[in-house]
């Protein structure tokens, strides 16, 4: 989408902007049109998945692959749930508190992890994901394997009562739009360009005076914080959380979304992937038994035949994962920096 926004600007295409406007209006109108609470629930879960997928892409834009995407999600959920249960504070205070806690923990964990890259980073993020699950499972103060139950609903705010699905829908939609705005600003800024330069070639970036560790750490924290927010939201939406929700499979699903949608599209990719992964198995009535086979085969087929993902196929840039746009732009930026 970043690519498209810039492209749209180059071509003077206002249509892209109006398209985004229409999409937002449609999303706002959905609860008026759709009556079934279950469909609204699916939308809410899809939005949660979209945000989690975008956090993966944020980290991936610096060339780091995380297999522990569910860890900050779990930290946010548990922090928020424990704060409201133990200290009886309101959800509206617990949400920012949980976000800050996730950010601080991500800073600490990232301080250890971001010294690694490549396969070691993949494995370490996975290990940390498991550490979080084991910690909340083994320690009784965190709820144990049975999890935490009867987490309070968000308090009534500005006459909006959190009963039914609709208020939750608007809350998560609001969070989603804010995250998209902030991430878009990150991707189009110097920060985003530096991350892409690191992905293109860590050594070259380093030779230009880019501190790899610092920027990787920043990307790590920036990726963790929205996951913490969604975690807090999820805890108070589902109102019961168990450690297994945040296990290894959850992390694997999170990275499925951007791969399915298309890795070249930083915001639209995870969105498309997450929506497909949420709705298609529901409406095809695929049972739980066959679902992993279909997901697994789908993943294999996409990677082997369409590495550009769904969007890559649609926009015809699926040719061997065309990196033409982003990478070439970054390359010319690097060359410009080298030559003066």
């Amino acid at each position: 989408m970043v690519k498209h926004l810039t492209k749209a600007r180059e071509k003077g295409g206002r249509s892209k902007h109006s398209l985004i406007g229409v999409a937002i209006v449609v999303l706002i109108l959905i609860p008026f049109v759709i009556e079934s609470p279950y469909t609204i629930h699916l939308f809410i879960m899809a939005f949660v998945a979209v945000i989690l997928g975008m956090t993966f892409t944020m980290l991936f834009s610096s060339g780091q692959i995380s297999l522990g995407g569910a860890a900050p999600f779990a930290i946010g959920a548990y922090a928020s749930a424990l704060l409201t249960l133990n200290f009886k504070i309101s959800f509206w205070l617990a949400l920012p508190a949980a976000t800050i806690i996730t950010g601080i923990l991500a800073l600490g964990i990232g301080w250890v992890l971001c010294r690694h890259a490549g396969a070691a980073f993949v494995v370490l993020t996975m290990v940390f994901g498991l550490v979080i699950v084991q910690t909340v499972g083994q320690v009784e103060e965190f709820g144990g394997w049975g999890g935490l139950t009867s987490i309070p609903r968000p308090d009534t705010i500005a006459n909006i009562e959190f009963v039914g699905k609709t208020p939750y829908y608007y809350l998560i939609l609001f969070v989603l739009l804010i995250v998209i705005l902030i991430y878009n600003a990150f991707y189009t800024s110097r920060f985003g360009r530096i991350l892409r330069a690191i992905k293109l070639s860590p050594h070259l970036a380093q030779s230009l005076g880019i501190n790899l560790f610092r920027y990787r750490l920043m990307a790590f924290v920036v990726a963790a914080i929205p996951a913490g927010i969604v975690g807090s939201f999820y805890a108070h939406y589902a109102r019961a959380i168990v450690p297994d929700t945040f296990g290894g499979w959850a992390s694997i699903r999170i990275q499925l979304y951007p791969v399915l949608g298309g890795l070249d599209y930083y915001i639209l990719g995870p969105a498309v992937g997450a929506i497909i992964m949420t709705f298609v198995p529901e409406y095809l009535r695929i049972t739980k038994e066959v679902e992993p086979i279909i997901t697994g085969l789908l993943l294999l087929l996409i990677i082997v035949f369409f590495p550009g993902g769904v969007l890559g196929v649609i926009f015809r840039s699926g040719r061997a994962m065309s990196l033409s746009g982003g990478i070439n732009k970054t390359r010319s930026w690097l060359i410009k920096k080298i030559s003066g």
Partner: protein, 295 residues
């Protein structure tokens, strides 16, 4: 004293098991740069192969073990040719390393899900046990030791010795090491990287199958034995240091002993303690115990 000896034997048996799996993943990782998440499933299929060969055809323990290793090696070869080779060919030119790593890792995750669920649908969820091949206890002085665990240690040691001879004393082993060092330069010496990638993948998967075969007569053969062990195996891999065989040995045995003593003295917290030790080690030695820090 007896408890202590038993704990050490249990820990060593567990450690050797991890070692076989980690060595397999390491060989694959170093040669082909694929992080193989489906390795746990190969291990499980190895156990099933052993079970069927042993109980249906009535072959002896050693023959069944060899059959399990060969079958999983063949499966690995097919998987490499069918899936990973296509991906690597497509990714060969000028792709950032992170893309190649992600793509092959994701493909192996897809493979993991498919193999796992296909096994669930094929074999059903009932547990299978093989009447224990080695039920006796070995008594040395006053200490009683379970013979089955000692068998795991002995057979694993034999396999590791065989692997060492293969990697360091034969021409093909030399070629495998050359390819893992630098595939392009190796190809200048007339070594075909593709062929050696196939061999490495088959050897790695065969090792997992052998590990499954060794476990089958001692523990019961279940469907989730693969998913359980793969995460611990990755942990061992980073603890010892990626791309260091000596590190893998140290990491595996250390983890096995820690788990064995941990379960005895602090229960379920033992696993958490292992995680924390790994994190502390990695904070001070980012490359693991013997590995080099990668950038």
């Amino acid at each position: 004293m007896e408890l202590f000896a038993q704990l050490i034997v249990n820990g060593l048996a567990l450690g050797m098991l991890y070692l076989l799996i980690v060595l397999g993943m390491d060989i694959i990782m170093r040669a082909t740069k694929i992080l193989n998440f489906a390795h746990g499933q190969i291990y499980m299929l190895g156990a099933f192969a052993f079970y069927f060969v042993y109980s249906q055809f009535g072959l002896g323990f050693i023959l069944s073990l060899i059959a399990a290793g060969l079958l999983t090696g063949l499966l690995g070869l097919l998987l490499y040719l069918g899936v990973f080779h296509t991906i690597q060919k497509r990714m060969a030119s000028g792709m950032p390393f992170s893309y190649r790593l992600l793509m092959s890792a994701m493909a192996s995750v897809g493979l993991m899900m498919t193999l796992q669920q296909a096994a669930v649908l094929t074999f059903g969820s009932k547990e299978r046990g093989i009447p224990n091949v080695f039920p006796q206890l070995l008594t040395i002085g006053k200490v009683q030791l379970p013979l089955a665990r000692l068998m795991i240690i002995a057979v694993s040691l034999a396999i590791c010795l065989g692997l060492y001879l293969l990697m360091y004393k034969t021409k093909i082993g030399k070629a495998m090491r050359a390819v893992s060092y630098d595939a392009e330069i190796a190809s200048l010496q007339g070594i075909s990287p593709t062929r050696l990638f196939c061999v490495s993948f088959a050897v790695g998967c065969g090792l997992a199958g052998l590990a499954g075969g060794i476990v089958a007569p001692v523990f019961s053969v279940t469907l989730d034995m693969g998913t359980g062990i793969i995460f611990m195996a990755f942990l061992v891999m980073v603890l010892g240091g990626m791309g260091s065989y000596k590190g893998a040995v140290i990491g595996a045995i250390l983890t096995g002993l820690l788990l064995s003593f941990g379960y005895q003295f602090i229960g379920g917290l033992g696993q958490l303690a292992v995680f924390i030790i790994v994190i502390v080690v990695l904070t001070f030695r980012p490359g693991g115990i013997l590995g080099k820090a990668l950038d």
